[in-house]
């Protein structure tokens, strides 16, 4: 089998006559024949359409039926509306509440997947322009053979050069257009079909993310599957505020890398601070570990208002929509760098840097749109250097006295609290501050997600968020941590090493902490969860804002998670894969376990791989602060692979959970691949999408959700030990469902034998077999042999 690649075979034809035309000196450059050949035959579902994997989706959805949590009683999507959907009423278009909820989820998933795909497209186009379409893909030097597991699995192609990703993105864009069209009034009428399309959007999302991250790893020299990627500084306290400070916010790293290049080539790296928030920050530290991460998305207001940044550069995604005003308040020029977020600024892309810098320095303009990363690099640095000395860190946070004075204006109307997404007791704290006691405000700082809604709500125009941050000044100064920079993919050899222990259950599971910072109680809980699972020798992965949050906490010895635990994909490792788009390496790792360890055919073979992952690989995603539409599509990509996702309490706002019913025995039958019989496999994993009320509940659920029907007895015993132990410690007492999770005597952890056997007896438990589980009748070996 040979494979066409974009390469350098050039066919020159001196003269050609055909019926249609005559031409001379025709030169045809065609893709070359790769030396490397991909012998794997094409699987059944390359480039799947909207319906190709529908039957797989419906299998999962039969077990994990949506539990709808309408966020609004109405639909307002077209001018027939608004329509009242309470009490089984149908909309003017005939839609039911159930379908409308799933439709809304599909819309969110489309927005999320489009965001990653559009980001991948811009990034790829830029990198191809800069490095050529022939620039080779390289995610892990010689340690990685399966360079793009999702692309191979979904598209059935094996990308070699950057240019090969173009058709992958073409496919993603085509599917997303199809999917979005399904949300139009008068399209899909069935809720489960909407859900199947949500899964499709999720799968596309992971492909898009994979393209984005592989492209930037390959072209920008990010760590290549490096377990020992450097540590970088993290936190407000790490910034040297005496230097000119540049702040980058967003997800698209090229402007930031150009800023670093400009500084480096002029030997100015030590003359300025390059700081970042969100994923651009994460990716920038993959480019240079000298750059600094301030914090997750929720640090935007507090950092800007500290007055520290001299120039603010935004690219795309997760940027506060009021960033221009906030920047203007501290007199920091704002540079917008993406067509996706122009902020109403004048387009200066085609002006010479001298002029733009001069206009910034003179204050003639407060912001500019510059759609050329190289120019952004120059303008940002030169402006920061020129402006910093005269700006004097225009701080917006009140002093202690000002704070007290502001607090005295409070009438106790409680509107701030009623606006706070976390229902924080703000008005009490303000009242206390009015009497000189700011400890309440200081405490709020830890739980506050920095949304600023309290301020908008305050009729007294008290800058509530600012006084919270001001009250916690000492804390902010102490925010000084270390984070391992994003390492990218997982090496094939790591997969080989952990594949057995994972599938056999010696490693209790993979727990991935991903997504945004809409935490119910601040960043700290993520760090605590990471450490607990690493200590219990799970493989812990992190990415995005959660990767940042995971590093923002020190243990008793003053160490952060990344300093205590290794960065390798192994039991007890904490693996920061990178930014949001690096999430693809986590799903990719699960796929690689099926492919490398279990040798399942990968190419265009989605169902079989997902069936494998679902029944055998004990992976769980935790998006404790899931906020965005991207979080929705990322989760959906995990679901289709059979990987459960746990979210925080705000996650109920995603309109529905996907919950299994452990009490319905009939729901948990699987085929035994050996015999073809339908046998009871047990309620594992119990849920596909689950919102926990508290961190404790989440941790116990995570431990439970790593169980899989094919766990060996040894493996199940280890998983049960963790589950029961965490339950006892965090919730109290024995869990009530042990009897559903023990299949054979040998599953029972020795240390808990007595307690468990008591329960089993009470529940009239009997042994049942451990199947070779599959949901796919075609995977039954007997029938295959027949």
């Amino acid at each position: 089998m040979v494979e066409l690649r974009r390469d350098s075979v050039n066919v020159k034809i001196k003269e050609l006559n055909s019926d249609i035309a005559h031409f001379r000196d025709l030169s045809i450059t065609i893709g070359a024949i790769t030396k490397e050949t991909w012998v794997e035959p094409m699987g059944p579902t390359p480039y799947p359409s909207l319906t190709t994997l529908r039957s797989w989706d419906l299998k999962l959805l039969e077990r994990y039926k949506p539990f709808y949590l309408p966020f609004c009683d109405l639909c307002c999507m077209c001018t027939y509306g608004k329509c009242d959907l309470t009490g089984n009423k149908l909309g003017a278009c005939g839609i039911s509440m159930a379908a409308q909820q799933s439709r809304t989820v599909l819309l969110a998933a489309c927005i999320g997947a489009s965001t990653h795909t559009a980001h991948a497209r811009d990034l790829l186009t830029h990198l191809i322009e800069r490095y050529g379409e022939d620039h080779p893909i390289n995610v892990g030097e010689l340690n990685v053979d399966i360079e793009a597991p999702l692309t191979r699995l979904v598209c059935g192609i094996k990308p070699v050069n950057l240019g090969d990703f173009e058709e992958v993105l073409d496919y993603c864009e085509k599917q997303l257009t199809q999917l979005l069209s399904v949300t139009h009034t008068g399209q899909e009428g069935n809720n489960l079909d909407f859900e199947s399309k949500v899964f499709h959007a999720g799968m596309i999302d992971h492909v898009g993310m994979e393209v984005a991250d592989i492209a930037q790893i390959s072209a920008l020299g990010f760590p290549k599957s490096d377990p020992e990627a450097s540590l970088a500084d993290l936190g407000l306290g790490t910034v040297d505020i005496k230097k000119p400070v540049i702040l980058v916010i967003g997800h698209n790293v090229p402007p930031a890398t150009e800023i670093i290049d400009y500084l480096k080539t002029r030997d100015l790296m030590s003359e300025a601070e390059v700081t970042g928030i969100c994923c651009t920050a994460l990716d920038m530290t993959r480019y240079s570990a000298k750059a600094k991460i301030i914090g997750p998305i929720s640090w935007q207001l507090r950092y800007v208002r500290s007055g520290v940044p001299d120039v603010i550069v935004i690219d795309e995604q997760c940027i506060r929509a009021d960033i221009l005003q906030e920047a203007q308040h501290i007199h920091a020029p704002l540079i917008a760098t993406s067509g996706k977020n122009c902020c109403g600024l004048p387009d200066r892309t085609h002006d010479v840097p001298d002029e733009i810098v001069a206009d910034f320095v003179s204050g003639k303009i407060t912001g500019a749109l510059i759609l050329d990363p190289v120019k952004v690099g120059e303008v940002a640095v030169r402006t920061a250097l020129a402006i910093a000395p005269k700006r004097e860190k225009h701080k917006l946070l009140p002093t202690h006295d000002e704070l007290i004075k502001l607090a005295k204006k409070c009438t106790g109307c409680v509107l701030c609290r009623r606006a706070c997404p976390n229902d924080l007791p703000i008005s009490y704290a303000v009242k206390a501050a009015a009497q000189g006691n700011i400890s309440g405000l200081d405490e709020l700082y830890d739980d506050c997600v920095g949304c600023g809604r309290c301020e908008s709500a305050c009729p007294q125009k008290i800058p509530v968020h600012s006084i919270i941050v001001a009250a916690a000044e000492k804390k902010t100064r102490d925010e000084s941590y270390r984070i391992r920079t994003g390492r990218g993919a997982i090496q094939d050899i790591e997969i080989r090493k952990v594949g057995g222990p994972l599938v056999l259950g010696e490693i209790p599971g993979i727990v991935a902490f991903v997504g945004c910072a809409n935490f119910p109680k601040g960043s700290r809980e993520v760090a605590e969860m990471c450490m607990e699972f690493a200590k219990r020798r799970y493989i812990v992965c992190t990415s995005g804002c959660s990767a940042i949050s995971a590093g923002m906490y020190r243990n008793e010895e003053g160490k952060t998670a990344y300093e205590i635990y290794p960065g390798s994909f192994e039991a007890g490792g904490i693996v920061n894969v990178g930014s949001c788009v690096s999430n693809a390496h986590i799903s990719g790792a699960a796929i690689k376990i099926a492919s490398i360890f279990a040798r399942r055919p990968l190419r265009g073979n989605y169902e079989e791989i997902a069936d494998y992952v679902y029944n055998r690989v004990g992976a769980v995603g935790v998006a404790w602060g899931a906020m965005s539409q991207k979080a929705a599509s990322i989760a959906a990509g995990f679901w289709r692979l059979g990987i459960p996702v746990v979210v925080g309490p705000h996650g109920t706002k995603y309109r529905r959970m996907l919950l299994g019913r452990s009490d319905k025995e009939q729901d948990w039958y699987v085929y035994d691949a050996r015999t073809g019989e339908k046998v009871y496999g047990g309620p594992v994993p119990e849920h596909l999408f689950f919102a926990a009320e508290t961190k404790e509940e989440a941790m116990v659920m995570v431990a439970k959700l790593t169980m899989r029907p094919n766990d060996t007895s040894k493996g199940r015993a280890i998983k049960l030990t963790n589950y029961i132990d965490l339950h006892k410690r965090l919730i109290g007492g024995m869990p009530h469902d042990v009897h559903l999770l023990v299949r054979k005597q040998a599953d029972i952890p020795l240390t808990m034998k007595e307690d468990i056997e008591k329960i089993l007896k009470e529940m009239e438990w009997t042994e049942h077999e451990i199947p070779d589980p599959t949901l796919l009748s075609r995977m039954i070996r007997k029938s295959k042999e027949a």
Binding site: P520, M657, D663, E693, T694, G732, G733
Partner: protein
């Protein structure tokens, strides 16, 4: 503080909204009228104190007097166990919510569907969304909340109240039930 508006200003419900429990008698009557009530208690139960008495103790009294099975969510179980009270189930809030939308579900004891679900102590917006799920997808079920804030998606809710009024109300309910 407006009485019958969502506690979180923006959590505006649609046309179908909770009736107010203005007096404890109302709640009392609703509970008495219910054939199969169930109570779902979230982690807030541990955090709230009502005039020196922890909310959880008040709830235990209520459950005992009213013979109401209690589902304890989140990390609240220990506090019940410590007080010698055995919850009927330890179960996440979304799980019990989900089961309650199943008209075929015969309850924790496998006997009969519940007709009244009493919520207390979940995080406001999570209780809001779960009650919304039940409002829309469990038409045969009535829901009530005992929190001190208005939950529009319940069938009945207290108004937004001061802790003091709320305490008096709760005590009123418990005492009435004792009759």
């Amino acid at each position: 503080m407006p009485l019958a508006e969502s506690w979180q200003t923006a959590e505006i419900p649609g046309p179908k909204k909770a009736s107010l429990i203005i007096k404890p008698d109302i709640a009392d009557a609703i509970i008495r009228r219910a054939k199969r009530p169930i109570m779902i208690v979230g982690y807030g139960a541990v955090e709230y104190e009502v005039e020196g008495i922890k909310l959880i103790e008040c709830l235990i009294e209520l459950a005992n007097k009213g013979k109401i099975p209690v589902v304890v969510t989140a990390s609240t179980a220990r506090e019940f166990l410590n007080r010698g009270f055995s919850p009927a189930a330890l179960m996440p809030a979304v799980d019990i919510g989900n089961r309650l939308t199943d008209p075929a579900w015969k309850g924790l004891d496998g006997k009969e569907s519940y007709d009244l679900a009493i919520f207390v102590g979940l995080p406001y917006s999570m209780e809001w969304t779960i009650l919304s799920g039940l409002k829309h997808f469990a038409p045969y079920l009535k829901t009530m909340t005992l929190d001190c804030v208005y939950q529009p998606n319940a069938s009945w809710s207290f108004p937004n109240s001061t802790i003091k009024d709320w305490a008096a109300n709760l005590r009123g309910i418990v005492e009435n039930l004792g009759d």
